[in-house]
Amino acid sequence: MAELITHSPILIIAIPLLAAFLTPLIGMASQKARNAFVVGSLVFVTFLVFALARDISFNGIHVYTLGAASPDLSIPTGFMVPVRIILEVDGMSAFFGIIWAIVSLAAAIYSLSHIASETGQTRFYTLLLLMVTGGFGMMFTGDLFNLFVFLEIASISGAALIAYRTKFADTQEGGFKYIVVSAIASLMVLFAIGLLYAQYNSLNIAYLAQVIQYTTLDKIALAMFLIAFAMKTGMVPLHLWFPDAYSVAPASITGMLVITSHACMYAAFRICFTLYGGVINAPVVGWIIIIFGLLTMFVGVTMAVYQKDVMRFMSYHAVSQLGYMWIGVGVGLAVLGNAELIATYGRDAMSGGIFHILNHAMYKPLLFFTGGALFHYTGTRDLTKMGGLAHKMKWTTILYIIGTLSISGIPPLNGFSSKILIYESVYQFHPILTITGIIVSILTLASFTKAFHSAFMGAELPEYKGGKEVPRSMIIGMVILAAGIVFVTLFPSLVVDWAIHPAADALIDQGAYINAVTGAIP
């Protein structure tokens, strides 16, 4: 068991990868065995992630040096600079890892019947496992170039999965847009990595954080990193591709794409707080992030109000919700370096933003899954053509209500706990942020109520009379996420103490991250 924990950072990345390489071979033999294999490997990975997270909360940061004589030999004996690729898992990485494990498991189970009538299922599951690998790699790596490689794995497999339903033209267009945006973003990341390498001749985040000077080149590199990752998360001036890509993917994949955008957000936080944390001009960068976060929040929700396509409607809400997280963490960044302000409200604002990531990662995939269930049942994504579905789809209706209440921040659901945390702390920084947040929240509730009314309420439409509730595996996938929501709703303080605060502290405490690598000189 101790061995398993020691090796778990790489096992969490390598086991989905191994499973992805095996899936085509197993898929040739039997479909049932393949499905069981995919779900089984994801369950095992989820277990490993939880074990690793538990160990981190007791023993601190995990460092794993690939190919060295021992896992914690991060720097060769008698040498000063890390040479090999180092995986570094701290509270923040583990937090994102847990989210990713749960959502990908739910998505895989949901897919079992959601794509049951399509061809090419074996390749679908192969790509799904590769996407899981890419996500975990992005979250766990401590090396910039490795981050780029895993970013590419996640985005290429994501693009192929978005275009999965090849018989529709819009899926191809959405996939194409996604891959173009990803390619440009990742090449910008690579250029920025080159700029850093040109000066410091290293790729390790912890080592770079120690030696970084904040020269002009570093500023250009920081701008490139931030633009690239903001582009990948759909921050507002660069959000036009976002609903196009998200609305056409199979619903299970849309749920996972939400978390890949969170992974890009994680990378942006890692760059701002850990890599540049010691030298960054925090108020300026913080304010830039806050202003664009506000725009994102507001534009997303106003665009969502007009949408008729259920998946597009939810995608715009995803854009809008991402704004809350940018604001929460942006306020934390703006006061970084000022220990007093961090203690009064900075840490709370960051905790609120991070808590909102957790909640969003539960309710947004859930809502996308219910949208997929509606599509599965009616064969259309157009809300105006639906109606009276509550009569037949009892489970979906209940799960949709849970998701709606949660996203609009209705007490006592989990969306409320994180939003109130953001509102309270951000108010002390600048009141206008809180006011905008509340207005956006009200608009969100209004538009979701309207969508609920047009899809579920009213008389049963004649064309949907003969249908049945969606298959069981789709419901199980949704119930996993709903259970997450209920858990967070019931025990908010437990979650905050064990997951949110360690994650926020991991971002603030840059020294611990550096020491875990460079302090291990024997």
Binding site: L66, R84, R123, T126, L130, I153, S157, Q172
Partner: protein, 93 residues
Amino acid sequence: MRRVTGWIVLIVLVAFLVWGVTLVHPFGDPDASAMDDYIIENSQEETGSNNVVAAVLFDYRGLDTLGEATILFTAVTGVLLLLRASKRKKETS
């Protein structure tokens, strides 16, 4: 309007790029790099490979190469997935 915005973005971007690359160290004269020197000196002993680039690819930065192979695998799977027939020719069990 779109064209004007496009030109502004383009000009700002190119200006920053050219400015940026002139700040990089002169070509052919990088700063002393501890990591690269370590690898060049020790790769033969540690990995037994005469080709230092191969040693970096498969030993020092092995996970990158695994990721690279994975990306190729992903792309091949993706291409075959997208070019598949969307209807089954005969029903499989």
